[in-house]
């Protein structure tokens, strides 16, 4: 068998090291490493000895590691050019584990000149960077990010998974080494301790001390280096970071222990430090896993779209996780299943509930060739759908992106938590210095112990992490209820009652004409007259016709013989149904058609209809009025209860409408609202004025309206709530979109806001209490560094778990 050549040194590859199928073989691990290093720095030309090569450009200025970020193809494909010449890109980030990491990364502009802005999306572990293209290159930015201790990579699904896997592996190795160090050091410490009682040979004692020092230093420099790196980054960007107290504790203990080792006498802290490093790494790993699970829980996309789907493979349908679906896949969606992606129906007819996207409660009938959207519910029979878009490319995905990448600044309460966290870290460092000083005076032997214990036990993570986590959980749970919220500010603002302005048409009312009353007049009315009318009007798109066609009194679905349907210019229609002449229309049409005045009782019925602000529609059979229908835009069924609910919760309610003031006044009285707060005949700018005026002096002003027509008023309110119309359009104007028709969602939203704020305050309180008690105990010397090392991860896990248990009560 011919021997393979090593790709690096060209010597023979031992048969036992051959990798079948690999395109490059190496004779030893060293050659593989050298080859990787050479290729990694773009120095391949050094292999081609003896050949004349062009002088390549100097590669030595940048680390080639991130050179791919500067390639034209990457820039074109992954970055966005803005009008002012700046570019922005979204990069995946590995290594985010706490809120302080977010602070650090968002101060990237201080570390890398030329960066304009950096924003972290913690849930997706991404960083959006905006920079001036002429001032700095993307690879330099990537270097800067890496220098802070976080690894950036292009946002490709498999990249992210791969980076996560390698980071996980490294973490596991670090924990293993920390455990080995801790275990060994505890053994050594036990021996030294026992040796204090029986005589231990001085040489052996020194040997053991040096061994303890060596193992301790290994633990500090290998698994423990993450803490130092975090602290160093924090110092460089002048941001107080969680790792600062820990790094300080490790540094102080390590230095003191080393000095004592060299001196030959004195306390060695290495056993404590090793155990501390181990426990902290384990606690951090558990926290990270919790966060990952929380992120999966918070993945709103996943809550609205299904976890699995049935994809066609060959002739059968195989159940696959929804995440592996690709455009072009063909899936089968059974009845009562949510459609997993945007697509086109290939076969099957059914009805879908599209309320989450459009607010339309009425199911949409669809058949082959029709387009369906992700997140909508298949109500009828199963359909076969070819997917055109999945995940973030779907309509629903884009809407959710709007929610996530809200342009608002960080919610006030999170900013508050951040500030408190920063001051907290500084306070802890100061407290530990004070403790050190005090104990050095009183009883020097344990001073370092107590100072280190204090540094360890204080946990600012809970403070800074619990609040944004609670808000994220709240938003995700709200989305489950089809209340789409953009930005955590909303819930905080809604916790204080103020003024709620309601739009009338479409918000308080159905927004559609409907038959609100039907009176048969005279003796001539056939039994099925309403259905005849419905059948005749079914073809017409006029709102009144639609109302008559949808008449709830006319839904038997029988077929009638209809001929000669003619639409009149005066706003009516005539037809022949089952041999009878039917005419349907308003008063002028009927007068013209009948050529005779209306009878008294007909006029009376019409007058009563007009008094309730509805429109009378006359139905004539064979030349005589047989029935009068009242057509109006009715109030929503839950409107009155909702308004009452709002007022019970302390909100003042008013109506802003462009409709005639009399109609608005009538609606107000029906709803039980004070007429002074209900204004009709308004232009859009008038609505804006009202909304803005009630937002003065810090009061909360809420506007509930149509996402398209009332956009300006919605934007002017403290919280704008958009209902019906398209979700995507609405969310551009307002921070909240109700995917359910009706006002019940508004009441629920207010309750959610209250529940969330209460949870945030509670979590804050718990973590503050823990810290206060723990710090006092540590300063007093009642808990040692080891106990502190165990307490701290427990506390942060507790608070995070508390945040995840947020639940909303189902409102009636």
């Amino acid at each position: 068998m011919p021997l393979m050549e090593c790709a690096h040194c060209t010597l023979a590859v031992p048969a036992g090291l051959l990798e079948p199928g690999a395109d490059k073989q190496f004779c030893c691990h060293g050659c593989r490493a050298a080859h990787t290093i050479i290729m990694g720095h773009g120095l391949e030309q050094y292999y081609r000895l003896g050949e004349r090569t062009r002088e390549p450009t100097v590669t030595g200025d940048k680390t080639v590691r991130y050179a791919e970020f500067d390639r034209e193809a990457f820039i074109q494909g992954h970055t966005v050019l803005h009008d002012d010449g700046q570019r922005s890109v979204v990069l995946g980030i590995e290594g985010l584990h706490c809120a302080a990491c977010i602070w650090l990364l968002e101060r990237l502009d201080r570390v890398v000149p030329g960066v304009v802005e950096a924003r972290v999306n913690w849930r997706r572990a991404t960083l959006e960077v905006r920079w001036v293209t002429s001032a700095v290159s993307l690879s330099t930015i990537a270097e800067g990010i890496a220098g802070l201790g976080y690894r950036p990579h292009p946002l490709r699904r498999d990249d992210r998974a791969e980076a996560r896997r390698s980071a996980d592996r490294q973490r596991t190795v670090a924990i293993a080494v920390a455990f080995a160090a801790a275990g060994n050091n505890m053994l050594i410490a036990a021996s030294l301790y026992l040796g204090m009682f029986s005589s231990m040979d001085a040489g052996i004692e020194q040997l053991l001390r040096w061994a303890s020092c060596f193992v301790g230093l290994v633990s500090l420099t290998w698994p423990g280096r993450v803490f130092f790196r975090g602290a160093w980054s924090a110092l460089r960007s002048r941001t107080p970071h969680m790792d600062l107290p820990v790094a300080l504790a490790l540094a102080v203990g390590g230095v003191a222990g080393t000095i004592n080792t060299i001196r030959g006498t004195g306390e060695l802290y290495f056993d404590t430090l090793c155990v501390l490093v181990f426990l902290l790494l384990v606690g951090r790993a558990i926290q990270l896993r919790q966060q990952r699970e929380a992120a999966a829980t918070l993945d709103v996309m996943r809550r609205i779209t299904p976890q699995t789907a049935h994809r066609r493979v060959g002739d059968a349908f195989v159940e696959v996780p929804a995440t592996v679906l690709e455009p072009g896949d063909v899936v089968r969606v059974a009845a009562d299943e949510v459609i997993p992606g945007d697509g086109t129906i290939l076969s099957g007819e059914t009805r879908v509930d599209v309320s989450v996207l459009t607010g339309e409660a009425a199911p949409l009938a669809v058949g082959p060739g029709a387009e369906v959207a992700a997140g909508t519910l298949n109500l009828g029979r199963h359909i076969i759908v070819r997917l055109d878009a999945v995940g973030e490319q779907t309509q629903m995905g884009r809407i959710l992106e709007l929610i996530e990448s809200s342009a608002e600044s960080r919610p006030a309460i999170v900013a508050l938590a951040d500030r408190i966290g920063a001051r907290f870290v500084l306070a802890i460092v100061a407290a530990s210095v004070a403790t050190l000083g005090a104990w050095l005076i009183m009883e020097p032997s344990h001073a370092v112990d107590h100072a280190v214990a204090l540094l360890i036990v204080a946990c600012p993570c809970a403070l800074a992490l619990a609040t944004p986590l609670t808000l994220s959980v709240a938003i995700a749970r709200a989305a489950q209820r089809k209340v789409l919220i953009k930005g955590g500010d909303v819930l905080q603002r809604l916790s204080r009652p103020g003024m709620v302005w309601l739009d009338k048409t479409g918000t308080v009312t159905e927004g559609r004409m409907a038959v609100v009353s039907w009176r048969n007049v005279g003796a001539v009315a056939p039994a099925a007259l309403a259905e005849w009318v419905a059948a005749v009007e079914a073809q017409c798109v006029h709102p009144v016709a639609q109302a008559l066609a949808a008449n709830p009194r006319a839904q038997t679905g029988d077929d009638y013989k209809i001929e000669n349907v003619q639409h009149d210019v005066h706003g009516g229609v005539t037809a022949t149904v089952e041999g009878h002449e039917i005419a349907i229309g308003n008063a002028p049409f009927v007068r013209a058609h009948l050529r005779a005045p209306l009878e008294a009782d007909v006029e009376r019925v019409a007058a009563s209809i007009l008094a309730s602000f509805a429109s009378p529609i006359y139905v004539c059979v064979d030349g005589a009025v047989a029935a009068v229908a009242g057509v109006d835009d009715p109030l929503r069924a839950d409107a009155r209860d909702a308004v009452a609910g709002l007022r019970d919760r302390g909100w003042a309610v008013g109506i802003l409408s462009g409709d005639h003031p009399d109609v608005v006044a009538h609606t107000a009285s029906v709803l039980g609202l004070s007429p002074s707060m209900c204004h009709g005949g308004l232009l859009p700018q008038d609505k804006v004025a009202f909304v803005a005026r009630s937002a003065e002096n810090g009061a909360t002003s809420v506007m509930v309206g149509d996402g398209v027509n009332d956009a300006a008023a919605l934007a002017a309110a403290s919280v704008g709530i958009a209902t019906h119309r398209g979700a995507e359009a609405s969310l551009r104007a307002a921070p909240v979109y109700l995917g359910r028709p009706g006002l019940g969602g508004v009441v629920e939203l207010l309750d959610m806001g209250q529940t969330t704020m209460r949870a945030i305050v509670r979590n804050f309180g718990v973590s503050l209490a823990y810290n206060a008690v723990a710090v006092v105990l540590a300063a007093a010397g009642l808990i040692g560094p080891l106990v502190a090392a165990v307490l701290m991860p427990i506390s942060s896990l507790t608070v995070v778990s508390l945040a995840l248990t947020l639940r909303f009560r189902q409102s009636a």
Binding site: L3, E5, C6, H8, C9, T10, L11, A12, V13, P14, A15, G16, L17, E19, A22, F26, C27, C28, H29, G30, C31, R32, A33, A34, T36, I37, I38, G40, H41, L43, Q45, Y46, Y47, R48, L49, G50, E51, R52, T53, E55, P56, V58, T59, G60, D61, T63, V64, R65, S199, D201, G203, I204, L207, W210
Partner: protein, 267 residues
Amino acid sequence: MIALLISVATAGLIGSIHCVGMCGPFVVLAMTPPGRVHLPQAPTADSATSGGSSISSRVLGYNGGRVLAYAMLGVLAGALGSVVDASGAALGLSGVAAAVAGGGMIVVGAISLLRVAGLRIGPRSQTLAPPRLLQRLVGGAVRQPKRRAVALGALSALMPCGWLWAFVITAAGTGSPLWGAAVMVALWAGSAPALTAFGGGAHAVSRRLTANRPWVAPVIVIAVGVYTLSARLPTAIDYRPAPTVSEDDLDETVQAPVEAPQDAPCH
């Protein structure tokens, strides 16, 4: 001890063909004049004096860096060996470091031989990636215009090269930092001529010489291992008998009563 040094130097000479193969590209890189990262044909007068440093300074720099790094490795290894020896001595054993080192070398050499024979042993090297730190360090070294040669020379001591580390084990086996450094310097001495003189062109030479002899290096490692194991090299620290504590001593130290002062308020 001198015998060991001579044999290590010889081994280094024989194995230096592979050293050239693996570190050749780095050597060429080190010899390149600063500021012009391109391929020199051969050290000519032009390239020798351009850029502010001469070819001889680069040669010296590379080899100097390498010998310093090797020596440091030897010191550390020897120190570790002396600790092992001391621990062994405390247990009543002598020459533990040499025994462990020798045994280790034999095992390493045997594994390599078996691999040459076709047996698969150990993890697939696909899964082992070079540490990022090394990548970064090399990158940093390449970017140094003036001290690139020295940096690269020093970094060659950190390469995950089994041949090198086999001799680090030998250095540990000497049980003394001084002799450990000597062993590594001997290795350096053996490999220096090939690396320096042949720099770039030895690629062709190496292929012709050793393409069919992958068993040479493992055999050398085993030989040195056997020698280390059997020769019971003298160690630098004295062998001390373990302290024995007699029954009487114990009684005397423990049972001496401590007089409590009669007027103490409490015990």
